[in-house]
């Protein structure tokens, strides 16, 4: 902008003040550029902007040249720093570099060629000012939107599902790789929003770790892209959100820890019960079984001089008692599973069933003993229910594996209406499966048969 003669102005004082301040807008614009949010504050850019203020009061041509050069340096340096910041919009940074190069180039040209073309010609200054100010305002507004989203997070946290903070914050700051982990305090490590233990990686070139503190106490940490600048600016707001969310995470971790303990306890109880069942089974096999065999032998060889029908009836009763004892023993502990494996034991079960039964066995289906025993009990109970309660005319059994689980599907065409909440059969099976980390689903609409889907991890073991 060229200088004017103040004494020809109709308001000399006003003109004098205006002349003194005529370049002040330029360092102020540089100030706005340097103040844009970013990961790092550039000392070079801030210094150049500060120097531009006094330079703006210098008389032409030194004043405009110095201000233009300092503005070019400030804007260019800031733009270069922001270019390395991946959370900062690219185009404003690129524009800043081009603008700074143009401004610096034309200023240098003017410095070496007096009277040559200069950027301070009016239309160029006006266009540059409008475009630069609009770009700065757009970037500031976009960061304002991000801040508002984080503020909303704090407000909405009460309704947030677990893990929602991370997802929404990642969206708000433009870093999809963001993870928020919550401190358990007292050197207890970190957990995620679901309460799972998380190992915080060491900060390196790929990942940065920003600790979140509240009143000097570490409450959380953000693991993020090192170039995510917005996090630094938003740390205070995130701290407020993380403190509330961290309470949830710590509760989740506590619940999970207690659930693990309870589950381990259930497994130990199950293991102890199975040991008892195994001992009872052994007693039946070794004590009662041989005695019944001996009794049967005596009766078969007894003289039939007396009432032969009576001896025959006693033998029939004895045979029935042996069969029931066998069934009872097998129900107590499925020795066949140990001897034949799950597939063999289920095939044996099917062979003894009085119901028409379709059996699909996946080849080589096997797992650890507790898992196989649980599956055997499911099949056994389902067949017994189909026969005794469901009035079924046929049953189908599918046994196979899915990922790391043994899976059984048993379906009958009976009257349905089975309720796993009543009685002890299905409820007991469900407890057994859940204690081993599995599940039991029962579908049994009245008149539409019953379908059981049981799943249990293959390699589960019980430690006493």
């Amino acid at each position: 902008m060229g200088s004017r003669e103040p004494d020809t102005h109709p308001y000399p004082l006003l003109s004098a003040v205006a002349a003194a301040l005529q370049l002040l807008y330029a360092p102020m614009l540089g100030h706005a550029i340097v103040a844009l949010p970013g990961r790092r504050r550039s000392v070079v850019a801030a210094g150049a902007t500060s120097l531009a203020y006094p330079a703006s009061f210098l008389a032409p041509p030194a004043g405009p040249i110095a201000v233009s050069a300092l503005l070019a340096l400030s804007c260019g340096w800031t733009a270069l720093v922001r270019l390395a910041d991946r959370s900062f919009p690219f185009w404003p940074s690129a524009f800043g570099v081009v603008f700074a190069l143009t401004l610096g180039g034309t200023t240098a040209f003017r410095w070496f060629v007096p009277g040559g073309f200069a950027l301070d010609s009016r239309p160029a200054v006006e266009v540059s000012l409008i475009v630069t100010a609009t770009a700065v305002a757009a970037v500031a507004a976009s960061f304002g939107d991000r801040r508002r989203k984080v503020t909303d997070l704090v407000v909405d946290l009460g309704q947030e599902p677990h893990g929602g903070l991370t997802a929404r914050l990642a969206e708000a700051i433009g870093d999809p790789t963001l993870e928020i982990v919550y401190s358990l305090g007292g050197g207890g490590g970190y957990v995620d929003a679901a309460g799972r233990t998380v190992v915080v990686p060491p900060a390196n070139g790929d990942r940065a770790v920003t600790p979140i503190e509240r009143n000097g106490r570490p409450i959380a940490a953000m693991i993020h892209d090192p170039a995510t600048a917005a996090l630094i600016d938003l740390r205070t707001a995130v701290a407020a959100a993380a403190e509330l969310s961290g309470v949830n995470a710590r509760l989740q971790a506590d619940v999970q820890r207690r659930a693990k303990e309870v589950n381990a306890s259930r497994r130990r109880l199950l293991g102890a019960a199975d040991d008892e069942r195994r001992a009872l089974r052994a007693q039946l096999d070794h004590d009662l079984g041989p005695r019944l065999d001996a009794l049967q032998g005596i009766l078969e060889n007894a003289p039939t001089a007396g009432d032969g029908r009576t001896v025959s009836a006693v033998l029939d009763q004895l045979t029935a008692t042996r069969a029931e004892t066998e069934a009872l023993a097998e129900g107590l502990y499925p020795r066949l599973v140990e001897e034949l494996g799950l597939a063999g034991a289920v095939q044996d079960l099917a062979s003894r069933s009085t119901l028409p039964l379709k059996l699909w066995l996946e080849p080589d289906v096997h797992g650890a003993l507790p898992s196989e025993a649980a599956m055997y009990f499911v099949c056994s109970e389902a067949l017994a229910n189909a026969l005794k309660h469901a009035s079924a005319s046929s049953v189908s059994v599918r046994l196979g594996t899915s990922t790391d689980n043994l899976v059984a599907e048993i379906e009958d065409d009976g009257i349905g209406g089975a309720d796993p909440g009543r009685g002890t059969g299905l409820a007991g099976l469900r407890e057994r499966l859940e204690a081993l980390g599995g599940s039991l689903q029962v579908s049994s609409r009245v008149g539409h048969g019953t379908r059981l889907v049981a799943s249990v991890p293959i390699g589960v073991t019980i430690r006493s």
Partner: protein, 93 residues
């Protein structure tokens, strides 16, 4: 609207932004009147438009941004630009 409500409105961010917009508009007219003569009207209109656009950009940034510092600096840039243009004298055009 009661005076109390008006006072509250002026103190709100929207109210302050509206007042700033009015000041920008009036400032532009003042520049046209005091800084530019009839033969330099095109340059005057361009200067005023520039000030208005920069000021509006600042007001929008101020309204949209939580801290609003950058928006206020841009409004100040518009003000400084307006003052700078008062050196244009009607007698020189």
């Amino acid at each position: 609207m009661s005076f109390g409500a008006a006072s509250l409105w002026i103190r709100s961010r929207d109210g302050l932004a509206s007042a700033g917009a009015i000041m920008l508009f009036v400032g532009g007219l003042v520049i046209l009147r005091l800084g530019f003569g009839p033969f330099d009207l095109t340059a005057g209109v361009l200067a005023v438009l520039t000030g208005w656009l920069v000021g509006v950009a600042g007001l929008v940034a101020w309204l949209r941004s939580t801290s609003g510092r950058i928006g206020l600096i841009l409004v100040a840039v518009a003000g400084a630009w307006a003052v700078a243009n008062l050196t244009r004298t009607p007698t020189h055009c």
